[in-house]
Structures are given as structure tokens and as C-alpha cells.
């Protein structure tokens, strides 16, 4: 017989298991939610608003209805009472924004769904959606972005921090930096589009949808439709990239469920790439003012960061990550202010390191400016201000290996060969600059549950409604169960992404492994207890089972994360498990930390910016699978490069539209842009953060890269660029 093109891997004991679902993915066996084919499926297509603010005066649907194969057209005039209004997740709801779809004639952002066509084929639905003519009455003014005069700024009082006396200390300090920074709107653009399929069987609804939190979709949708959540099942075995955009229920899901209920047949929607720019949240543009003051030895005396974040008029969203940047270094006088700036845009949301990336860019660039003002090596500046105690409340870090990361990465990078003066390193026509910055990400975990079944033939099945986003969740689940029960990796099967399974937390905040691994460990421990080998070695488990006369042992366990009250466990079963940790604990702070080093090259004449080399070192507690962790870290670092010199969602100020809402014009790096990216994992043991000792690596890789690049650009050129992305015109 033919050799299989992708043979199943043969894992030797002690080896790092490869990706559990890798073979299924590369052979096409893995079926993503939009791949599921249901009989009699009708196809939906959205028509979205072409104005940013105003009202719908009328629809002309005649041409759309005339398209052969059209079954139904939903508008605010025809949809009926559902879905019910729900506040956004930030205000206690389940959903990424509160603007009810097809809810009224009001248009509050460009790209807002105003009609949904359902037809026999995708082509007919698309054709009809394009034939819809909407007469709009645009509002005379429009705030398209954070700089707009019509946008409304509001302080977020609960995010204020005042420690010591910033103003006095800053005024009296010998060395000061005071500068403004900006980051642009950016979109996650996961390769897999925003797809939803809904199928009713009687009063039971199955939703196939890529999701970072299936139970959130289930409970939120039940509330929107006014039905028992027990009647809804959400299935999401594979997610083709999410990066925060699939973190919470979006308004599209209810539309598809309602259409399927009206028609009595399954309905499938795959929003277009452009529609994906407004179907879910995105990284809002931000502004920052950072003021730093230090003594002549570089010790920080005063630190102030004020942030302004764009939000929608409907929902106030602020990431407010100065709560973290203010705690990174020893400093006696600290001030933090956070503001939202409401404009006529869709509600922003989470995108990989949502607050850490922009706030970290501002602070870590300001620190480099301080190092220049002090004529001090930027690594040494971080060393002088390193601390094991956060400076706001004086709480201890559970573990902090920042300077080990800097030292390891600096050695690998060759930092000692850097000549400090800006513009002093050159290679022919290329200006060379080296820069560095701190990476940080708070360690979160949430309540989660898991079930593990061990049978006497040596097979194990582990299940939990966690999520496989490509980060390695299946692999982690199987690996932890294999290790805990002393069976080979290839004897373990894993199930996830299904509300029928024991509930788990959102796959967000880099918390999946830190939350679910402890639940799997607890279930395995329960199995050992049943078999009378509690506390023994994993090698004792199988002999104990075989000696017991039982064929199968199955245990369920739920685990409560540190910092969550006892009553929080109920929220796990209502789709509301929230991560705890980071800077939100009463007794300690928890962070993964790292150091980013980059080399940039800028052409002396034409100013193209290249990043031929990046080295990151990260200390994130226990690394369960170095292979998948490495993929996460270099993926994050590459996105960091992209966030610094490529990505920007371009906004037309006349209607608040994104004019590059496609993968050709939304600039992302291609292979030729990414040359040598190295992620090192610094050994770190932390027995406090959670039972697994895991801090998470999903997001930290992206943090700090943009600052390191900005700092390297300064080193290459002597030009301090404080606005992302940095493009060649900024260096002309």
C-alpha cells in the first residue's frame, strides 16, 4: 500500500510530543465549524452599513428579492423582537458589543449589519445582498477616530492610581522624560473567517462556530433568544486563529439562529473578510503620555502614564494596562490615569496582549528615552530598577526572572558589541540599530473542570470544554493526562470545544493551560485516589487498575483558581468564568516576564525598515510543551514586528470606514520580512501561581517588540519615533 503522506508520529518516551491534531490539520481531516455540512442548509449573507452615523430612511429590496433562490431577507423591519438587548461583556453581559443587530433604523458605525439575506446558495445570497439598496440619512457630524473633535473623552476613575507624590517628585528630579505615543487601530484577521452555522431540532439548537469560549456563546445566546441554555449546544473543535476576535459571543450568532428558526432548516453564515473588521472587536487606537523621572544613577523617582483608548459610543471599553506598566519597576511615586474616547465606531475588544502591547510600547520606549538622557545602557536601566515587589501596593511577585531574561537574551544577541551612540553602527548603505525592551504578561487562571477516563487496556480519554486555537490545547491536555497517569502520549485521546463537556474558562488572557491543566491534574489525582495510589508515582497507576478488577475508572474534577471566592464556581457553569490573577490579587502579583532584542536596518537613502534579527527570552514558569510554546512565542514576536512596522487599519474620516479591510492592503509581514526570530525559554519554577506552575505564553511574545524596534530605529538614526506603525515616510 501507499505510504501515508503524513504518517502518524511515533513518540518515544521522554520526547516532546508533537501537535496532537497536526496530522488531521495538514491532511484536511480536521473539520472547522464552517466545514460542517448539514442537510438542507440555507446560506446567509450580511449587508452592512455604508455610513458611520445616521439612520436608515428606507430599504429597496425588490431587486434582491428577485434574485432566484432568495428565501428570506431580515431587516429591522422584519426580524421581530429577538434578539433581546444585552449589555456588552464589559458591562455584565455576555457579548462583545451591545448594538443589537437589525435592532432599529439607527446606524452607529460603518459596517453595521442592516440586513441579512438567506438563500438556497451562497452565490444567490451574496448577489441579493448586493442588490439591496438602502437610503440613509447621515448624521451631519461624525467622529471617525481618536483624534476627532467630535469624539467624547471620559476619565475611567476606577483605573486611577496615585502612589506617593508624583508631581513633587517629578518636579524635583534631576533627569526627566515627558513624551506622547500613539498606536493605531489593528485587526486580528484570523485566517478562518467569522462563520456560524445554526441548526434547530425541535426546540434544541446546535451552533457550529469558531469560539474561544463555547459556554459564553451558549449562555449569552440563550439569554438573547429567551430560551433555556440547556437546549443550546455549541461545538468548536478547531479554531483557525482567533487572537481575541472570537473571545466572546458576537451579534451575528443570534441572527443566524433566528433565521434558522424562521426557516425550519439549518442556516450558515460566513462573514466576509471586510465584514470581519466590524463583526467582532479589534485593537482600538490609543494615545499615551508618559512622564519618567530618575536620579543620575537611573533609579526611578517618579512614573506617570496616562492613556486614552478609543471606544464606541455604545460601549465603554478600556484595557487600562498602565495598571501593569506602573508595577513593572521599583518607583516610589506613581500616577496612572486612563480615559476612553468615544467615537462613531464599532466596539473595540481584545487582540493578543490587548492592553499590554500598546501600554508596553509607550512605557518601554519612554524608558529607552530615559536611558539616552542618562547616557546609560538600557539593559542596565532595567537592572537598576528591577524589583521583586511591585511598587503600588508593595505586594510580592510570585516569581520574577526579568534580569535573567535580559542577560540570557543579551548574550545570545551579542548586545555587548553594541556601540551606544545613535547612528554609530552602519553596514554599507544600511543604518543598523539595536534595541531592547521588557516583555510582560500577567499570569491569569480561572475556574475550570475536566473529566479523565482510564481503562485497563491503557487508554485514556481526557475532556474539557477548552479551546484549540492552534496554540496546542489538545496536545497539552493529552500530555498532562499521559504524564499524570503514566501512559504513553499516543494512548491518550482528548475532546474539547463542546458545551457538552466539563466547562472551562475562555481561551483568553494566556490562561488556558494555567486553568485547565490543574483540573486535569486534579481528575488524575482522583483516579489515583480511587486506585489507592494517591501520592505515588504515575508508574503505579496502571498496575493498580489492572489489579483492581475494574475496567474503567473515570473522574471529574473542578478547580478554583487562586483569588476567586468560593461562590465563583457557579459562574463556571453559567459561561462566566473570568480569569483572576495578574495585578488583581490581594496578596501578590503574578507576571510572566521576558526581554526582547531586535536589530533593525534602514536604508540610508530610501528608508525601508527591515528587522533581520529578533531574540526574545521569556520566563513563564513551567513550559509543558516546548514545541507548541516555541510556536506561540515566535508567533507573538513576529506579530510584534508586524505591529511595529506594518499593521494599521486605515480609516476614512468621512464615514469611519476601513479602506484596507482585506488581506492585500492590510499590511502583514510575509516570509521574506521575517528572517531570524529566536525565542528562548528561561527556566523558572513557580509553585504559587497554580498547581501546574504554568504562567502561559500565548501573548507575552508580542509585548515589547514594538518598543524594541522603535528603540532600535532611534539607535540606527537618532530619530525618536513615537507613533506606530513606523514606516519609511516617517524616516524621510
Amino acid at each position: 500500500m501507499n505510504q501515508p503522506l503524513f504518517p502518524a508520529p511515533d513518540v518515544k518516551p521522554g520526547q516532546t510530543p508533537p501537535r496532537y491534531e497536526g496530522r488531521a490539520k495538514v491532511t484536511g481531516e480536521a473539520r472547522y465549524p464552517s466545514d460542517v455540512r448539514l442537510p438542507r442548509t440555507a446560506h446567509a449573507y450580511l449587508h452592512t452599513s455604508r455610513i458611520g452615523r445616521g439612520t436608515i430612511r428606507s430599504f429597496d429590496l425588490a431587486a434582491a428579492r428577485a434574485v432566484p433562490g432568495v428565501i428570506d431577507i431580515l431587516t429591522h423591519e422584519t426580524i421581530g423582537d429577538d434578539p433581546r438587548h444585552m449589555p456588552a461583556i464589559y458591562q455584565g453581559g455576555y457579548i462583545s458589543d451591545s448594538v443589537r443587530p437589525l435592532g432599529s433604523a439607527d446606524i452607529v458605525y460603518w459596517g453595521q449589519p442592516v440586513a441579512m439575506v438567506v438563500a438556497e446558495t451562497f452565490e444567490a445570497a451574496r448577489e441579493a445582498a448586493r442588490r439591496i439598496v438602502v437610503a440613509y440619512a447621515p448624521h451631519p457630524t461624525l467622529a471617525a477616530d481618536i483624534r476627532s473633535a467630535d469624539a467624547v473623552t471620559q476619565a475611567v476613575e476606577p483605573m486611577t492610581i496615585d502612589t506617593g507624590d508624583f508631581a513633587a517628585a517629578y518636579a524635583a528630579a534631576p533627569v526627566r522624560v515627558d513624551a506622547g505615543y500613539t498606536t493605531p487601530a489593528q485587526h486580528q484577521n484570523p485566517m478562518e473567517l467569522f462563520a456560524t452555522q445554526c441548526a434547530w431540532e425541535g426546540d434544541r439548537l446546535t451552533v457550529h462556530e469558531p469560539s474561544q469560549y463555547v459556554n459564553n456563546v451558549r449562555f449569552g445566546l440563550a439569554e438573547q433568544l429567551g430560551i433555556d441554555p440547556g437546549r443550546i449546544r455549541v461545538v468548536s473543535p478547531y479554531v483557525g486563529g482567533a487572537f481575541g476576535a472570537k473571545g466572546f459571543l458576537t451579534q451575528r450568532t443570534a441572527l443566524v439562529a433566528i433565521a434558522a428558526r424562521r426557516l425550519g432548516r439549518p442556516v450558515k453564515l460566513v462573514a466576509t473578510r471586510e465584514q470581519g473588521f466590524t463583526v467582532s472587536g479589534y485593537r482600538a487606537e490609543t494615545r499615551h503620555r508618559v512622564q519618567l523621572a530618575a536620579d543620575r544613577d537611573g533609579r526611578l523617582l517618579a512614573l506617570r502614564q496616562e492613556g486614552w483608548e478609543l471606544t464606541s459610543r455604545a460601549d465603554a471599553v478600556a484595557m487600562g494596562a498602565a495598571s501593569m506598566t506602573a508595577r513593572l519597576y521599583a518607583c516610589p511615586n506613581i500616577s496612572v490615569r486612563i480615559n476612553t474616547v468615544a467615537a462613531d465606531r464599532s466596539t473595540p475588544g481584545f487582540m493578543r496582549a490587548p492592553g499590554e502591547m500598546p501600554y508596553g510600547f509607550a512605557l518601554e520606549t519612554a524608558l529607552d528615552e530615559l536611558a539616552v538622557a542618562l547616557d546609560m545602557d538600557p539593559v542596565e536601566l532595567r537592572r537598576v530598577n528591577d524589583t521583586q515587589t511591585e511598587p503600588v501596593a508593595g505586594l510580592p511577585y510570585t516569581s520574577r526572572s526579568l534580569m535573567r531574561c535580559f542577560d540570557d537574551a543579551a548574550a545570545r544577541f551579542g548586545w555587548k558589541d553594541r556601540s551606544r551612540e545613535a547612528g554609530s553602527m552602519r553596514d554599507g548603505d544600511w543604518l543598523v540599530g539595536w534595541g531592547c525592551a521588557t516583555a510582560f504578561y500577567p499570569t491569569y487562571a480561572g475556574n475550570s473542570a475536566a473529566r479523565v477516563r482510564l481503562s485497563a487496556d491503557g487508554r485514556v480519554h481526557v475532556s474539557s470544554a477548552g479551546h484549540e486555537l492552534g496554540q496546542g490545547m489538545y496536545t497539552m491536555m493529552a500530555q498532562v493526562a499521559a504524564e499524570e497517569l503514566g501512559v504513553p502520549f499516543d494512548q491518550v485521546t482528548a475532546s474539547l470545544g463542546d458545551t457538552d463537556l466539563p466547562p472551562a474558562i475562555v481561551a483568553g488572557g494566556s490562561s488556558s493551560t494555567a486553568s485547565v491543566a490543574p483540573a486535569i491534574m486534579a481528575a488524575c489525582e482522583a483516579i489515583r485516589r480511587r486506585l489507592g495510589v494517591e501520592g505515588g508515582s504515575p508508574a503505579e497507576v496502571m498496575p493498580a487498575l489492572q489489579a483492581s478488577g475494574m475496567w474503567v475508572v473515570e473522574e471529574f474534577a473542578e478547580v478554583r483558581a487562586h483569588g476567586l471566592p468560593a461562590e465563583s464556581m457557579a459562574s463556571l457553569y453559567r459561561g462566566r468564568a473570568t480569569p483572576a490573577g495578574g495585578v488583581h490579587l490581594a496578596d501578590r502579583v503574578q507576571f510572566a516576564l521576558g526581554a526582547q532584542f531586535v536589530e533593525v536596518r534602514i536604508h540610508a537613502r530610501t528608508r525601508e525598515i527591515r528587522v533581520p534579527r529578533a531574540v526574545g527570552a521569556f520566563a513563564a514558569g513551567r513550559i509543558i510543551n516546548p514545541r507548541t510554546a516555541h510556536g506561540q512565542l515566535i508567533g507573538g514576536m513576529i506579530w510584534g514586528i508586524s505591529s511595529a512596522i506594518h499593521e494599521r487599519s486605515e480609516i476614512d474620516h468621512r464615514n469611519g470606514s476601513y479602506i484596507n479591510a482585506n488581506l492585500a492592503e492590510y499590511l502583514l509581514p510575509v516570509n521574506a520580512d521575517i528572517v531570524d526570530v529566536e525565542a528562548m525559554m528561561v527556566a523558572e519554577e513557580d509553585h504559587q501561581v497554580n498547581r501546574a506552575g504554568v504562567k502561559g505564553v500565548g501573548e507575552i511574545g508580542v509585548v515589547g517588540v514594538a518598543a524594541a524596534i522603535s528603540n532600535a530605529v532611534f539607535h540606527a538614526t537618532g530619530r525618536r519615533l513615537r507613533d506606530l506603525p513606523i514606516r519609511l515616510e516617517d524616516l524621510m
Binding site: E650, I659, L667, P669, N671, D673, R727, M732
Partner: protein, 339 residues
Amino acid sequence: MRPFHYSRPSSLAEALIDMRDALAAEPNSSAAFLAGGTTQLDLMKLEVSRPDRLVDLNALRGEAGHIRWDGTSLRLGAFARMAEAADHPDVRARAPMIAQSLSLAASAQLRNMATLGGNVLQRTRCAYFRDTSWSACNKRVPGSGCAALDGVNRAHAVLGTSDHCIATYPGDFAQALLALDASVVIAGPGGGRTIPFARLHRAPGTTPHLETSLRPGEIIAEFIVPAGGWFRRSLYLKVRDRQSYEFAVASAAVALDLEGDTVREARVALGGVATVPWRAREAEALLRGRKLTEEAARAAAQAAFTEAAPHAHNAFKVELGQETLVRALLQLATMETPR
């Protein structure tokens, strides 16, 4: 989707008849030719192009897919694929600029599909042209206005613009053909004709929807690139926002014939900065007979942009375009050319 008629003629003669008949039956026909499809199908999906008939020319590769050196000229069949021309030994050895302009364009997949004739006819990437929900686009809907003038126009042109259109010509290969004084062999229902490549594209003026001098039903059959003393000392320099799979922010197709360090003849065309493939004759004139110093290169580059008309977001293209040309000229000055 919108239905359309489709035919796949087996010869150039048959294709011309198909299109002639379509135009005779319906004078306002939106019938279009289909070659590699990398622009045409893209624009059909966007509904920017809505042909009622597609005449597929892909069976014509045998007739007009050649690449050969005839002793005095490179002859490039219009139906040769970009990748075939970019990789052809005669093209690479004799006119490096042509090979570079092709291999630096698009992606390997697109270069394997797109034809040379289709490539020079590629439409602009102006976002306001490509999104039909913008009502103002003189190129798409004559007389409707230009949304780019007050819109996001970083990518737009600074040369050859008008009050009616500032859309950038996106291609690369055309600049090489223009710099090298190529001519275009055109087949038409009324017989063939040959025109200078420089007369193929039309600046927008008051009629941005008229992009070329091709008449209805005509097909580009071949490009003829005559050899010159500048043929080998040539390059295509492309500056862009990422290293591959990206259009030029500024580019320069430059060929030099040097005697010692003195310029005997210069050929300069610019891309990424103009509404059409842009020949910089003022720059060429300034270089002719001068020593190729940085000063001379800079003077030529400034001359090339004296007429530049920037808008809100693309003013940098004036300096960038100049620097691109200076860099290309100085790089060519030191280039080793095998004889």
C-alpha cells in the same frame, strides 16, 4: 453572481471575430477579454468589472506565448506568463531590468498565471476604485468625482495626476518596457498595428476611465524590446512596505550606457508614484553627457519630480521617488556588466 457569456476561441483570429461579433450585436457591450485572470476575475468578484461576455484567450499561448531574441530585439509574446519571462535566460542575461521587474512583482502563484499582456493592463489598486460602495470614482463611473482626493491617499500618485483622478498605476513590468523604448504589436479586427509602448497608457486628464489607447476588440499580441547600449546595465529598483508580494511605493527602471564614468545614454522610468508608467525624460536629458556623480544623480532625480502634485498623505513620495532614482543610478554606475 451575475451571469455572463463565455467563449474560449482557439486562435487569435477567432478571438478577434468573437469580440467583433459581440460588439456588433451590442455596441454598449461590456464584453472583456480574459487572460491570466489575476485582475479581471478579481475585479469581477468586487463587481468593479461586470462584463456581459468574457472571451477567454488562454488557448492562444501557442500563438503568442513566445520569448525569443531575434538578434536585435527581445520579442515577448503577450501570452507568455510573467514567470516564464522572468526566468528566461535571454531576458535575464540581456535585459536584467525586465527580469527584475517581473520577479519582484506579485507572488509566485500570480506570476505563474498572469500574462505579460494582461500585466501591463493591470488596473489600479486605489481603494475607492475597488470598492463600489464609494459612489465617487471617475475611473469606474465617469463624471462621478474622485473620493481619493480627500480620502486616504498615501498610496496615490504624485505625477500625471489630474483633478479627476490620482490613482497610481500599480505595475512594474511596464516601467521596464517604457524605459527600454519597447513597442507593442496589437492585433485588431481591422488588422494589426504597432505602437510605441509609451503611447499605450493614457494619463487620466478629464477621462480617467480611458486608460489605454487600445480600441474596442483589440488584443496585445507582442512586445518588441530593441537592444541598446544600455541594455545590460539596467535594473529595476522597487521600494515597498514589505519585502515581497507588495506593490511599489516608489520604483525606478533605469538603464545606462556609460563611457568610462560619463553617461552616453540614460533611460529612466518611474513606478509607484504616477498615474501611468512614467518616463522621466527630463532626468535622462540632465544625465546625458555628464559624469555620473551623486550630484548629477540628484539633479536628475529632482528634475523628474518638478511637476509633482502631492496630496494629504503622499507628499513623502516626492522625496522617496527621488531617493529611489538616485539609489538606482548610483547602483548602476558601479554595476559590473559582462560583455
